[in-house]
């Protein structure tokens, strides 16, 4: 299902810097079933955009629509995958997934079955009774993904989920994520500051500058399955990188 924000405006009060305007009249639509990526420099408000969609942050103005119908923020079927796994370390892998199921109103008798099936999807069935602190970072992030899939969301909101992993692990998880996306047909809104990652994963890439303004909507016209280092992908990445630096006057 398609998801959009219209005329989104958000200002944060910051004790040191005064009021910081993150977005002013931002309008963007993410196509249903597509893999969309929002890409921008650190601090451009990418996470805030996801948080507004999820209803975790109230916008000052603007609204969220699903399939063209206006809805309350967060009032649609979604699951959130965070930058860190954000697991409950005192619960086993299986219990972490079941935690989200319980919150989602799935009766206890059905939880074990769902837990087993989503852990199968991410390749962690054998770790059902393991505590998260005994797993590697990549495995923990997989558990976070399994938890998100368990609630059968229409939309997956993903906030730089691979940015804290080493490149090899991240690469494998990206491929697995694409497989899962193609199996399940979900709408994915993915946030990253890594152009290569955005191009490899996405159908559509939305580029924000440091003022939170949308300055480019690009499609990645490369078929799937994609292979890492593909020449066509590299070409798209090169072009987007150019556009990016033309528009982002870096004040770092």
């Amino acid at each position: 299902m398609s998801l959009s924000v219209t005329d989104l405006t958000k200002t944060f009060e910051d004790a040191r810097r005064g009021n910081v305007t993150v977005f002013e009249n931002l309008t963007v639509t993410f196509e249903g079933g597509a893999f969309s990526t929002v890409m921008g420099p650190s601090g451009c408000g990418k996470t805030t955009l996801l948080n507004v969609l999820a209803g975790l942050v109230d916008p000052d103005a603007g609204h969220v629509s699903v399939d063209g119908e206006r809805v309350e923020p967060g009032d649609f079927s979604f699951a959130y995958v965070f930058q860190e796994p954000r697991l409950l370390d005192w619960k086993t892998v299986g219990e972490n997934v079941a935690f989200a199921l319980r919150a989602n109103g799935v009766p206890e008798s059905e939880r074990d079955e769902v837990v087993a099936s989503v852990l199968d999807l991410v390749g962690l069935r054998e770790e059902t009774d393991t505590y998260p602190l005994r797993l590697s970072g990549g495995m923990r992030q997989r558990v976070g993904l399994a938890r998100a899939l368990a609630v059968e969301p229409d939309v997956l909101l993903m906030d730089e989920p691979f940015s804290e992993l080493d490149e090899l692990t991240a690469r494998r998880l990206r491929e697995d994520l694409l497989d899962l996306w193609q199996e399940t047909g979900k709408t994915i809104v993915f946030v990253t500051h890594d152009i290569g990652e955005a191009v490899f994963l996405s159908d559509d890439v939305y580029l924000l500058n440091e003022r939170g303004e949308l300055f480019e909507e690009a499609t990645v016209p490369v078929g799937r399955p994609r292979t890492f280092g593909d020449r066509e992908l590299d070409e798209v990445e090169r072009r987007l990188t150019e556009t990016f630096f033309e528009n982002v006057t870096n004040r770092v």
Binding site: A54, L56, A79, Y80, F82, E84, R86, L88, D89, W90, K91, T92, F99, A100, R102, A103, N104, G123, Y131, P132, L133, R134, L135, S136, G138, M139, R147, V151, T169
Partner: protein
């Protein structure tokens, strides 16, 4: 797929090393005691032999005072005072941790009360209420321990990871599930260490209160022997109590470990003296 499991070896190594160290440190203390006793008369600083004799008198119940007459009432005071203090402190600490207003009103007062010496409370309460069986010792414990529990619980609540709370928001986790699944497990370690130390403090306080404010109890008996220069008996009376407190602490530690099984890397540091 990566398959690293951490922590298991470190835990076993730490445990076996600790028990040897414990034996060695206890032996060192006993040796130092014996050497020091050589410089004093036995009445003031008894050696290990004299101490053992006094201890056997205490344990056999052959002295002027008997454990059975004094330990139960002391135990009762400790349990009541400790329970009241933990309940009240948890209440205040939770209020301070979750409500700004409560924090503003309670914080400074709590910190000041934290500095009041137990002996001052004991004297003041005896002046006000005279010799009482329960009131003065229990109130002394409560007044000393409450600020301590309050501060600990308050700090525990402040340390709750907001990112997990946000996760709970995103998954629309309900009130009960949020309390039991997100908040309590994070505050749990603070509660456990608070309870353990609060219990140990309660024992020390009750003896002080009993010296001046009671006609029965371990503190009263110890004071009796102190005023008669029987240092050996003072120590001999303290030893069974020390062992009891130590055993209770180990028991709580056991329970705590079972609760925090998931802290794969922390287990090694949680069991000092095990």
């Amino acid at each position: 797929m990566e398959d690293t499991r951490l922590g298991e070896n470190a835990v076993t190594v730490a445990r076996s090393a600790v028990s040897g160290a414990t034996v060695l440190s206890v032996a060192a203390v006993l040796l130092a005691w014996q050497v020091a006793s050589l410089f004093f008369t036995p009445g003031i600083f008894p050696g290990l032999g004299r101490l053992a004799a006094d201890l056997s008198v205490v344990l056999a119940g052959n002295g002027r005072h008997r454990l059975v007459d004094h330990v139960p009432v002391t135990l009762l005071r400790v349990v009541v005072g400790f329970a009241v203090a933990t309940a009240v402190g948890t209440l205040f600490g939770t209020a301070m941790g979750t409500r700004r207003r409560a924090e503003r009103y309670l914080l400074a007062t709590t910190l000041v009360l934290l500095g009041v010496p137990a002996i001052v409370w004991a004297f003041v309460l005896v002046s006000w209420f005279g010799l009482t069986s329960l009131l003065v010792p229990v109130a002394t414990i409560t007044l000393v321990v409450v600020p301590y529990v309050t501060i600990n619980v308050w700090e525990g609540i402040q340390d709750v990871d907001y990112r997990l709370v946000e996760m709970a928001d995103a998954y629309e986790v309900g009130r009960v599930q949020r309390l039991t699944g997100v908040y309590l497990p994070q505050i749990g370690p603070y509660l456990f260490s608070t309870v353990r130390i609060a219990f140990a403090i309660s024992w020390k306080i009750v003896l002080i209160a009993e010296m001046f404010g009671a006609t029965h109890g371990v503190g009263f008996a110890i004071n009796y022997y102190f005023t008669r220069d029987a240092t050996g008996m003072v120590v001999a009376w303290a030893l069974p109590i020390m062992m009891l407190v130590y055993a209770l602490d180990r028991l709580l530690n056991r329970v705590e470990r079972r609760f925090f099984d998931w802290r794969a890397t922390d287990v090694a540091t949680g069991g000092v003296g095990a």
